[in-house]
Symmetry: C2
Subunit: 196 residues, 2 copies
DNA sequence: CGCAACTAGACGACTGGTCTAATAAAGGAT
DNA sequence: ATCCTTTATTAGACCAGTCGTCTAGTTGCG
């Protein structure tokens, strides 16, 4: 019934994610996804109104998950805001530098390709990245208060600077296929956070 | 004859660039490119061995052009290295924030999509970005010497930090469709260059 | 039983990249 | 100038694959 409904829908999304992380959005056909998920084609259009709507759902789900993970890092009270901040970027480095699909960043993979292709998917990306940025900025301001981070003229601006840098580093990692770009970002981050 | 040969080939590349800048690599068919260029389909495989080889040529040509433009900015002796540096990033901001296709950045558009798709295109991107980084790092070190920029522990590291930030900012610009991300990058850049 | 949710997969109309076979052009030799 | 060879260029066939539709069939709950 309803739980089954959600299961199949979710199963399609879960199966699709690593495939799309590998090949992108346009280059993957529904066939490939559906045979991998053992779901017949007829079902797909029962759960999603179109490939585009499916892509939007994929992103929406991705960001929901991501924000949860983010909160579990940022809401710990066992560490200073500075330590939490550093832990976040360290986890970014690890997840993006290893070859494990599924852990990789959908934002980096799809942003450029999809933003010009679909307004609704661009909307998902926009909302998702704004949420992310808000959480980073919040943690920075907490760091100002608990003294674990320096005082910034503008937390939003600093959060944006960091996020931009890590997005770019992840993009370069796709080109380089090594950790160098991410490690450089880590070093710069330590410096910006004055935690080196 | 031979000059004609190169002309047609070049004409295909020139026509393709804005189209691919808009839709990406996989989502664009040869048909669309070739009809736009008024070149029959059969001719394509006379000039390029495959779509992938064509993509590689596109990137190769793009970076060759880009490096020329870069050199024309960086080799001016009328300005300090710091001013040249700032002029470069300012031009990045302008070209990437306006809607004008053709001026936009192929690296940002294609890196994520293509790096996992084609080794040869990834190779082009790798060589191109390394050239770019080398030029930026060189300009930074000239700035150290002529006193227009601060002394950096490592010019390559700083160049990489800046480039990563601007790549990320450009990616975010595709999502946001406004100048905010690039302007934030500009502000951070001024700060890093100590030119604010 | 009835009605909804869901599955099955054939089908249509089309586009994808690739390749072979035919044509056009060019160059050289007589 | 004419013929022949050789290369440059093109037309279109080819088939696998695309997204999306649609009808039949199955399942399961009230």
């Amino acid at each position: 019934m309803n739980s089954e409904h959600i299961d199949v829908r979710q199963h399609i999304l879960d199966t699709a994610k690593p495939i799309i992380l590998g090949k992108g959005f346009s280059a993957v056909g529904l066939n490939e996804i559906l045979t991998a998920a053992n779901v017949p084609k007829g079902s797909f259009y029962h759960y999603f109104k179109s490939k585009e709507a499916f892509g939007e759902a994929l992103l929406e789900h991705y960001f929901a998950n991501y924000c949860e993970r983010l909160d579990s890092i940022f809401n710990t009270q066992d560490a200073t805001a500075g330590e939490r901040m550093l832990a976040y970027w360290a986890s970014w480095l690890e997840t993006q530098s290893c070859d494990d699909r599924d852990g990789q960043c959908l934002t980096v993979k799809l942003a450029a390709e999809v933003s010009d292709l679909s307004e609704s998917m661009r909307g998902s990306l926009l909302r998702g990245t704004e949420q992310l940025l808000a959480r980073i900025a919040l943690c920075l301001s907490e760091g100002e208060r608990d003294g674990s981070l320096p005082h910034y003229a503008n937390c939003e601006q600093t959060a944006l600077q960091l996020y931009e840098m890590w997005l770019g580093a992840t993009l370069l990692t796709k080109i380089r296929r090594d950790r160098s770009a991410l490690e450089a970002a880590m070093q710069s981050t330590r410096f910006i956070l004055k935690m080196n």
